[in-house]
């Protein structure tokens, strides 16, 4: 095990996969000498050269589309969208080309590409640099959607995503890049579609996505002091979604809180709530609670932004509510 930040874990995954497989290449604005807006790709241009670390013009639809074409011809592009907010300009390429090709060819072709995109709020950049769109992508057949929370998962899930033959939307929360944690040494792969129980507990299940996992663990720690035993489970991928593990945890505790940073309505938590509500029906002692961004854009001013970002304390309140204590 080596302690490292998520940023470094991702860089290691990129480096290892590029070393392992010549067809893997990176594609994104400012990922070269600049090292990417969040420093993730630092050093890779120097090490792999401009044929493996490609900087296209500012044209996300164009370059995501070109990644699809390259992937169909046997390459394995890893494209970076600087902020997931900008992926809106490439939706057609993702939804109508990347996601559809396998089906259109009835499985005779595949589009092995990864789109890495920093998501989430907290960076004081306002409405166009803070969003979370994972629910959109998870609603599109043909796409896989991954949201790591720890350095180990970030590395292991990314390596698996690069080797996967389907287009994978890999969502990195900006606020997580500096999160530190142990990463297994040597080859480390984490399968898609396997939730991970980050903390075992008896009383309440908190299903947390991405950056909310850390907040859920902190909340669990606090609640432990009050004698409340919280299980924290991280789906890690939304598509495929490990319904079985989520339902099992919910059935065990009988009380469920779902926490994500995306806005609530029609968000990822809706599906998780629906799945658990169905699968654990009869085992639930209380209605499922969702903790999410309120249904507004993310404002710029720190006092406003801090007010809307879902935090530890919201999870604590929700846990108490499902325990009937609030």
């Amino acid at each position: 095990m080596t302690e490292m930040r998520v940023r470094v874990a991702i860089r290691e995954a990129l480096r290892e996969e590029m070393e392992r497989d010549d067809s893997v290449f990176l594609l994104g604005e400012d990922i070269g000498s600049f090292g990417g807006a969040f420093g993730v790709t630092k050093g890779l241009l120097e090490d792999f050269g401009p044929d493996r670390v490609i900087e296209p013009p500012l044209s996300e639809s164009g370059f995501i589309g070109s990644a699809v074409g390259a992937a169909m011809m046997g390459m394995r592009p890893i494209a970076e969208i600087m902020f997931v907010d900008f992926i809106t300009v490439a939706m057609d390429q993702i939804v109508n080309n990347a996601a559809k090709m396998s089906y259109m060819y009835d499985g005779e072709i595949s589009v092995p590409m990864v789109i890495r995109a920093p998501c989430g709020a907290g960076v004081r950049m306002g409405v166009h640099h803070s969003q979370s769109f994972e629910a959109w992508f998870a609603h599109v057949p043909g796409l896989k959607v991954v949201m790591p929370s720890t350095p180990a998962d970030a590395k292991g899930l990314l390596k698996t995503s690069v080797r996967d033959n389907d287009p994978v939307i890999f969502l990195e929360h900006k606020g997580n890049y500096h999160t530190k944690g142990p990463v297994p040494d040597g080859e480390h792969l984490v399968p898609l579609g396997k939730a991970d129980v980050k903390r075992e507990g008896r009383d309440v299940t908190v299903v947390a996505l991405g950056i909310m996992v850390g907040k859920a663990l902190a909340a669990a720690e606090q609640l432990q002091e009050e004698g409340i035993s919280v299980e924290v489970i991280d789906p890690r991928s939304l598509q495929p979604l490990d319904e079985e593990s989520l339902v099992a945890s919910a059935a065990k505790t009988g009380r469920v809180v779902i926490a994500h940073e995306a806005v609530g309505p029609y968000g990822p938590g809706a599906e998780i709530a629906a799945v658990i509500g169905n699968g654990a029906f009869g085992y639930l002692d209380r209605p499922i609670e969702r903790v999410a961004m309120p249904f507004v854009p993310v404002p710029f001013s720190p006092v406003l932004e801090d007010h809307v970002i879902p935090k530890e304390e919201h999870i604590i309140v929700a846990v108490k509510r499902v325990l009937g204590e609030a």
Binding site: G62, F63, G65, A70, M72, M73, S102, Y103, N165, D166
Partner: protein
């Protein structure tokens, strides 16, 4: 390399086959209840034939919504295309895709997008792969004049130019985007003039002259293969029929206009040239007609006698790597 007489005859045969195929589909569309709505390329056959004839088998083509000829010349059999129109298991993606957006991995055809212009970046990505793989394969992409207004056209051509990618962009300028006339959306004389905005050659050719198309595209292909980057070739042509078989094509344009263009028929044009230069005889012409007509007969028979896919197959292959319940 100038085209030989054999080439001319071969191209003539492709033109005729495309024409027959398309006409047959139009005839049968409602008569037989063919489920795929035909977007006929009649009148525009020279573009696909001229552009694809002479490509290497390992070159890759990305069609527009109206590029029947490209599919044929690239080697997708009339049987399979017709079966695709019928939604049969022997068709495109075992029934999952229509004939006019179908792809074929082996033959080097990229499945098109129903979103106009959306395939241009994909085709540029094909060229990017070729460059990264250090091959001399070429990517050829077709799109309409309407598509040249899409952002994807701009982004893709710019990308291709910046990286000097081996891609030939062929615009099938048939003067209309559905019911809209080109003057409604193109504020300049030629789509090809937009090439200057990317520093790539922009060539205008008579899209009803299969030899002119062939020569221009072959030149562009040679440039691409030599590592000299992309080109935009605009082929001026005309759509004889409506946008689709559900459109008579009569509310938004004058019959006379259609008639004028019919005089410039690309099939006749080459036929006259071949006959007047003595390359083929009237009899040979008739033989070709008979031959392709039979090919189309067989395609229809094949399509009609093919089975539909098992409905349950609809649930398969959304994913190439099915995991965790995804299929």
């Amino acid at each position: 390399m100038p085209v030989s007489n054999e080439d001319l005859v071969a191209m003539y045969r492709w033109l005729t086959l495309t024409r027959h195929f398309e006409e047959r589909v139009c005839d049968l569309q409602f008569q037989r209840g063919i489920p795929e709505l035909q977007h006929a390329s009649i009148g525009q056959e020279a573009v696909g034939v001229g552009a694809c004839y002479g490509l290497r088998p390992d070159d890759v083509v990305t069609p527009s919504l109206r590029t029947r000829a490209a599919y044929l010349v690239k080697g997708i059999s009339p049987e399979r295309q017709m079966a695709a129109m019928y939604g049969k298991a022997t068709g495109a993606g075992r029934g999952k895709e229509t004939s006019h957006h179908m792809g074929d991995r082996e033959l080097g055809v990229v499945a098109g997008s129903g979103v106009v212009g959306g395939s241009i970046p994909v085709a540029v990505g094909v060229a990017l792969a070729f460059k990264l793989q250090d091959t001399d394969r070429v990517s050829v992409v077709f799109f309409g004049d309407g598509a040249s207004n899409r952002g994807d056209f701009h982004e893709a051509l710019n990308l291709a130019a910046v990286f000097r990618l081996p891609v030939v962009c062929v615009c099938e300028n048939n003067q209309y985007a559905q019911s809209m006339a080109i003057a409604q959306y193109l504020p300049i004389a030629n789509v090809a003039d937009r090439a200057a905005g990317y520093g790539m050659p922009g060539i205008v050719v008579d899209g009803n002259d299969v030899v002119a198309v062939h020569d221009a595209v072959q030149e562009a292909v040679a440039r691409a293969r030599a590592g000299d980057g992309p080109s935009l070739v605009e082929c001026k042509t005309y759509r004889w029929r409506g946008h689709s078989e559900r459109d008579a094509g009569e509310v938004y344009r004058a019959r006379e206009e259609v008639e004028e263009w019919k005089k410039l028929c690309p099939v006749e044009k080459l036929r006259e040239r071949l006959i007047s230069s003595g390359v083929i005889s009237q009899q040979q012409v008739e033989e070709i007609e008979a031959e392709v007509s039979q090919i189309v007969d067989r395609a229809v028979e094949f399509a009609e006698s093919s089975p539909f896919p098992d409905p349950e197959e609809a649930l398969l292959h959304a994913y190439a790597t099915p995991v965790g319940g995804l299929r």
